[in-house]
């Protein structure tokens, strides 16, 4: 309806644009997906503890990275933050307002301010709608009429994301994967959100296209001052995009801190293992051609055993202990709190009873995988500590 005026944002709640002010706060955020079964009547017999007691703060205008392996609960966290899922426990406070259990109507003003970008650009666009319709959709739903009209705004947005305004009347199938993800970004930007949750936005794209989209998101984030929760499994991409990073493992944050805290001075053994597992072409790029030797020379090499345990019955105490080379008895009984470890900078928290030294610049070799151990001739039997 044309007589609907675009709603003024409820600015009185929190001073807008103050970078660094907490925008979104999650406390004890928990999501358990029930598993039914049993006999003879089906009932709840357990739960996938997808997210379990998560505390995090996203500040206005910052880019917050959420990294972890599959099943760590990062995507669930994203859906909880945007309230696409109802949390089992915990609180979500957006700009000072508790929206944990807000209903449709109460959420309406925030819906426009929190947007989401999805992994699969194919699945998230309606193939029967034109690009114009897709991008203007959120404006229509929220009854927002920007000055100059919706179409003009859409064309402007298309330009912003690197598409041509002439693409307004095209259909999604006429675009390549990267372009489709650009359409998704344009749609998320349509309502001038304050927070965008991007769930694996580039992982379905080819390397060269992935870089284009990462650059686009970076520009959007920086120039428009939008806060981002950037969810990805690719550590290098997260590092490139995020000012602060949280590492998740089995539904919990094991370490959180500024980018350099995590990538240069990690304290949690899992963060170390993750970083050491990333195959880096750069290891060779910096060394001149020729010569032999291993590329791993200057980095620690940590090879864990097996896969991540099931989130249905996570290990007691510290959840990482089953794959950790430093694990001791108390790790099984006592859950390590997320704390600032001795020697860490401010805001750098890790959840470990026995934190690692704060550097990756070492030549530690930890081999837990039995097949590797056998093949590489490690003869000792399962030493708990393998640091050399």
């Amino acid at each position: 309806m044309s007589d609907k005026v675009s709603l003024p944002a409820p600015r009185e709640a929190a001073p807008d644009g103050a970078r660094g002010e907490p925008l979104l706060v999650a406390e004890g955020l928990t999501k358990h997906f029930p598993i039914t079964g049993g006999f003879p009547v089906k009932r709840r017999i357990g739960a996938v503890q997808a997210v379990d007691g998560l505390d995090l703060t996203v500040r206005a205008g910052e880019s917050f990275g959420l990294v972890g392996e599959s099943g760590c609960g990062k995507s669930t966290t994203g859906r909880l933050l945007t309230r696409l899922l109802e949390p089992t426990a915990g609180r979500i406070v957006y700009r000072g307002r508790d929206i944990t259990h807000a209903g449709r109507r109460e959420l309406a003003p925030f819906r426009a301010e929190i947007q989401m970008i999805f992994q699969d650009p194919y699945a998230s666009l309606n193939p029967r709608h034109t690009v114009g319709k897709i991008v203007s959709g959120p404006m229509e739903i929220n009854g927002i009429d920007p000055p100059g009209g919706r179409e003009a705004r859409v064309r402007e947005l298309l330009e912003t994301v690197g598409l041509s305004p002439e693409h307004y009347n095209r259909f999604p199938h006429e675009f390549s994967g990267g372009q489709r993800q650009r359409i998704g970004v344009a749609r998320a930007l349509a309502l001038e959100p304050k927070l965008i949750v991007a769930d694996e936005p580039v992982s379905a794209l080819d390397v060269s296209i992935q870089a284009q989209v990462v650059n686009l998101l970076r520009d959007v984030q920086r120039e428009l001052g939008i806060a981002f929760v950037f969810i990805a499994h690719d550590l290098a991409v997260v590092r490139h995009f995020s000012q602060r990073v949280a590492v998740m493992y089995l539904g919990k944050i094991v370490e959180v801190g500024d980018r350099d805290d995590i990538y240069r001075r990690p304290r949690h053994p899992y963060t170390h293992a993750l970083l050491s597992a990333v195959p880096e072409a750069a290891d060779l790029m910096d060394t001149p051609a020729g010569g032999d030797g291993s590329a791993r020379a200057s980095r620690e090499r940590i090879r864990l055993a097996g896969d991540v345990p099931s989130p249905i019955r996570p290990p007691s105490g510290c959840r990482f202990r089953t794959r950790c080379w430093k694990a001791r008895e108390e790790c099984a009984t006592e859950e390590p709190p997320l704390l600032r470890a001795e020697g860490s900078g401010p805001g750098h928290l890790s959840a470990c009873h026995f934190p690692e030294p704060p550097t990756v610049e070492r030549t530690t070799e930890v081999i837990l995988d039995p097949a590797l151990r056998a093949a590489e001739g490690h003869t000792e039997s399962q030493p708990p500590n393998h640091a050399q």
Partner: protein, 341 residues
């Protein structure tokens, strides 16, 4: 075999698919060689022809819709045009393959043990009992705990990493001399990927087989392969040892790939330098150099050469580019390398 004949030699390979929209030139004149005990990495984005090439090596394309030309010599045996019966003897025996998605690449209907034992029985004539023992042994070798029990599990009862190990066990069960690994770790988590890559490398050291590793991830090849082939739009655009290609890349496409990759150590304040545009359609690839519509060096070559003339990939180290090797080196050192910091 004489020492001069390479173990695997692919010459002027063309693979074309007949589709409703026309003929797709998936592989367009590709040549490479591989020796025993060596690992060749083939890197490229989707549609570059890297997987198609390797399916052609084992003759796994549907002959009704695929046209294959060229020469594939495996240990002196010509595989293009070979009868199905001959190919069946090669597959899984002399040359085996590991696929990307172990969930779909293993049959959900049979136990892991049976799927491992099957090619062993077929190729060695072993009894059911022997084959089963072999399967248990293979599972143990790839690091599956309790192999004697897990041998009777179905693939869905395995975790993703374990399934990929089982697939490796299946591929290696007949001690193949050539192992083709097609994106073997793409579906895996990074910690598991590291285990699998190391495992492949360790197993190769034990068996001395040749490996072709197909991937889109330059990081993966950096740690695993000896030689590297970069493919774009069905053609090889650069070749060399992995140190040569990653340390001093010559082809503008390779520069683009490296510039597109964020690194754990790069300067986060600098944006990535992606390749503009998107890969070309293989139904109607651009004339001349297929990369020219996205290439920043067209001006450096000058004239219409890039648009009209197809650059050849020299034998040995080199790139399929109209820039002279000197210009290639100069541009990399002067303009590209600083940006990669």
């Amino acid at each position: 075999m004489t020492a001069t004949t390479p173990f695997l030699s692919v010459r002027d390979l063309y693979v074309r698919f007949a589709t409703e929209d026309g003929t797709v030139k998936a592989v367009d004149g590709l040549s490479f060689e591989l020796e025993r005990g060596r690992t060749l990495g083939i890197v490229g984005e989707s549609g570059s022809g890297k997987s198609v090439t390797n399916l052609a090596v084992l003759g796994l394309h549907d002959p009704r819709t695929t046209e294959i030309e060229g020469e594939i010599l495996l240990d002196g045996q010509e595989l293009t045009g070979a009868p199905e019966s001959a190919l069946e003897k090669v597959r899984g025996h002399k040359a085996a393959m590991i696929f990307q998605d172990s969930l779909t690449a293993l049959s959900p209907y049979y136990t892991v043990g049976r799927q491992i034992a099957e090619p062993f029985r077929k190729h060695t004539g072993a009894t059911r009992r022997e084959a089963r023992l072999r399967a248990v042994e293979m599972l143990k070798r790839v690091g599956i705990p309790n192999p004697a029990l897990r041998v009777d599990d179905y693939p869905h009862q395995f975790s993703g990493g374990m399934r990929q190990r089982a697939m490796i066990a299946m591929a290696l069960v007949c001690d193949p001399q050539l192992l083709i690994a097609d994106e073997p770790t793409t579906a895996l988590d990074v910690t598991v990927q590291a285990q699998i890559l190391d495992l492949l490398k360790d197993l190769q050291q034990q068996t001395g087989s040749a490996i072709i590793l197909i991937t889109h991830d330059l990081g993966v090849v950096a740690h695993t392969v000896d030689e590297l082939l970069v493919m774009y739009a069905g053609r090889a655009v650069e070749r060399g040892t992995v140190r040569e290609v990653l340390g001093a890349p010559r082809h503008p496409y390779t520069w683009g790939l490296l510039g597109s990759m964020p690194r754990l150590t790069s300067d986060v304040e600098e944006p990535l330098s992606p390749i503009p545009g998107a890969p070309p359609s293989l139904l109607a690839p651009p004339p001349g150099c297929p990369f020219h519509p996205r290439c920043a060096s067209v001006a450096a070559v000058g004239g219409d050469r890039c648009r009209t003339e197809r650059p050849e990939l020299p034998a040995g180290r080199g790139a399929a580019c109209h820039l002279t090797p000197e210009r290639q080196r100069a541009i990399f050192a002067g303009q590209i390398k600083p940006r990669l910091r």
